[in-house]
């Protein structure tokens, strides 16, 4: 069998193209990514889309139901709910993306290194991360936030502390499945260094796991950050933020249900989008969800 039948594709471009094709073949992933994309676009274009200032209130317009001037009504301070929902994604997305990037990047490097080096390094890292995991995420976040304030940078750091151990676990598991493969052994027999093996042999084979991990972790981070805002430890009033909006308008839910329901819908669709993307990608790329634990 030495004949070549179809046109050979150039490797790196083909790789991306193939990843893209399999992605497109999964309806779930496409829908999920589309939902997320819509959220991103809305957040970016919020100043153009919203016809009211999300922060300035008008006491004479408080607690209005949905109507002509205010499509989604107003809250107890007379602020336009729609404008606040449109702007609300900025905080949630910005902080979540930054926090997820930091946690997944750190977790991937540490996880790969643990799988490849093994031995005492792996043991020690496992122990320390387990110890971090043992403290509930919410409590850890609360402590960091009370100590350092509620700035976005602090929240990113706090989320990274909470999520890096979980990313490490998943990536380490994925890398452990790659490390015994003969092509890694071949690189070892050539005498290649740890970083070279990591970059050339291991990372390309777990990049799909990392992508799925990113989407899934992002959905968790969004939930966690909104919970934090809801509890009053995240975004400071009067910042437009979904979690904060629910907290503010919950008591008036019977009067102006839209003021609570609109941010809930926004939040839920974003997380559903991320979860669908994670699900679709993992199925399309054959990433085993079982490894991911909870």
């Amino acid at each position: 069998m030495t004949t070549v039948d179809t046109a050979p594709a150039v490797a790196p471009a083909a790789r991306t193209a193939r990843a893209w094709r399999t992605l497109c073949s999964s309806r779930t992933a496409v829908i999920g990514l589309a939902i997320v994309a819509v959220h991103v676009v809305i957040a970016l274009l919020a100043p153009l889309l919203a016809s009211y200032d999300p922060i300035a209130g008008d006491a004479s317009q408080a607690l209005l139901g949905p109507g002509g001037a205010h499509w989604a009504g107003t809250d107890q301070y007379g602020r336009d709910v729609l404008a606040r929902v449109l702007y609300g994604g900025r905080y949630a997305l910005g902080v979540s993306v930054a926090a997820t990037v930091v946690s997944v990047a750190l977790g991937t490097v540490a996880g790969c290194a643990a799988a490849l080096r093994g031995g005492w390094f792996d043991d020690l890292l496992g122990r320390v991360l387990d110890a971090v995991l043992a403290v509930p995420a919410v409590l850890a976040l609360l402590v960091v936030v009370t100590a350092l304030g509620t700035g976005p940078a602090v929240i990113v750091l706090a989320v990274a502390v909470v999520f890096v151990p979980q990313v490490v676990r998943v990536v380490r598991g994925a890398a452990l499945a790659v490390v015994p493969a003969d092509y890694v052994t071949a690189a070892r027999a050539r005498g290649e260094g740890t970083w070279s093996i990591l970059r050339r042999e291991v990372l390309p084979n777990i990049v799909d796991v990392v992508c799925v991990e990113f989407a899934m972790r992002a959905s968790w981070v969004v939930l966690l950050i909104s919970s934090l805002s809801f509890l009053g430890f995240g975004a400071d009033p009067p910042t437009p933020d979904w979690g904060l909006m629910v907290a503010e308008n919950r008591t008036a839910i019977t009067v102006v249900p839209m003021a609570s329901v609109a941010p809930i819908i926004a939040l839920a669709t974003l997380v559903i989008g991320l979860n669908l993307a994670a699900d679709g990608l993992s199925k399309a790329w054959g990433v085993d969800r079982i490894r991911e634990g909870s």
Binding site: R127, V128, D130, A131, V132, L133, A134, V135, P136, A137, V138, L139, A140, L142, V143, V144, T146, A147, L148, S219, L223, S226, S227, F230, L231, F233, G243, V246, A247, R250, I253, T254, P257, S260, I264, L267, A268, V271, I272, N275, L276, D279, R289, I290, G293, S294
Partner: protein, 317 residues
């Protein structure tokens, strides 16, 4: 087998010790002087110095850690900076109230989600699977405070079956709390179940595709027997650890839900002590959470041993 149990227990204790150290260091490393933080910026220097003395802040950190751990082993977590009472007793009271919610949550969430997950896995790609998968996806996409709010809207406002908020303090009796337990438990169970359902589904699908399940089918066994005897013991193995993690997660999850319902549990205590910077209470709650986490994981390990004869007979993972 014994060596496996011993090794796992030792590892759990090690994790716990490391955890306690981390908690202690994290709380100690909080910027600013603890005494100043507690008393506020306007406090007189004498008051600050006095508090420092009574907190033992003038002694080296390792000594304080040792003291704290020694006390903790005997159930003595110091005195609350806010109420002035013993932290141990306070926390125990709140913890008891939370345990009431937790037990109900776990009972509902674990049995329900396992059943649903197994059904979804067995009916892979058919309508029961699609239905269950979709519902669980929504369940894990909605934060606890939203579920809680929606539940209040439905079952307290629209249908006044359950109280929307608890009006009792931490010393309420079980009888007083019981009517208020159901909505928080349901809110937590929805979120918790979503993860277990998905995990159980994947695991069941994997095992049902294995060669030994095919062999069992080809032996002419009934589907019921194939599923219960051959598939489930192996399929439940990875789910065990997810359940353990979720049970441990409850301790954090209650913070939000208890806040919504004003339920006098450990989550509410956690929030108020963070707001008041009541450090001994925070430390105590963190340590107890770590104990719960480690205990859940240990239980899952031992459960895995019961399900997996490899672990039993060889004592290696």
């Amino acid at each position: 087998m014994l060596s496996f149990v011993a090794r796992r227990t030792a590892a759990a204790l090690g994790t716990l010790l490391l955890s306690s150290l981390l908690v202690f260091l994290a709380v100690q490393a909080l910027p600013g002087d603890v005494a100043t933080q507690v008393l506020g910026k306007d406090a007189t220097p004498q008051a600050v110095a006095q508090l420092r003395g009574s907190l033992g802040l003038d002694r080296p950190a390792w000594e304080r850690y040792a003291d704290w751990m020694r006390g903790a082993l005997h159930g003595d977590f110091g005195t609350s900076l806010v109420s002035g009472k013993a932290v141990g007793g306070d926390v125990a009271q709140y913890l008891g109230n939370s345990a009431l919610v937790a037990v109900i949550t776990i009972l509902f969430a674990v049995t329900g989600s396992l059943l649903l997950g197994i059904v979804a896995g067995l009916y892979r790609d058919r309508w029961p699977d699609h239905l269950i998968s979709t519902v669980s996806l929504v369940g894990m996409s909605v934060p606890e405070f939203v579920v809680a709010t929606v539940l209040v809207l439905c079952f307290s406002v629209a249908l006044p079956w359950f109280p929307a908020v608890v009006l009792y303090g931490p010393d309420a009796t079980v009888g007083q709390l019981l009517p208020a337990v159901w909505l928080p438990a349901l809110a937590l169970a929805v979120v918790m179940a979503a993860y277990i359902v998905r995990m159980a589904r994947t695991s069941v699908i994997d095992v049902m595709a294995s060669e030994y399940v095919t062999t069992a089918r080809l032996k002419g066994l009934s589907t019921w027997r194939v599923v219960t005897r051959h598939a489930l013991p192996s399929a439940l193995l990875p789910v065990l650890h997810v359940i353990a993690l979720n049970v441990a997660w409850l301790l954090g999850g209650v913070a939000v839900v208890e806040n919504v319902f004003n339920y006098p549990g450990v989550g509410k205590l956690m929030l108020s002590s963070v707001q008041n910077r009541d450090l001994p209470v925070i430390q105590a709650i963190a340590l107890i959470s770590a104990v719960v986490y480690v205990a859940c994981n240990l239980a899952a390990d031992l459960g895995a041993m019961a399900l997996n004869p490899r672990l039993r007979t060889r004592g290696r993972t």
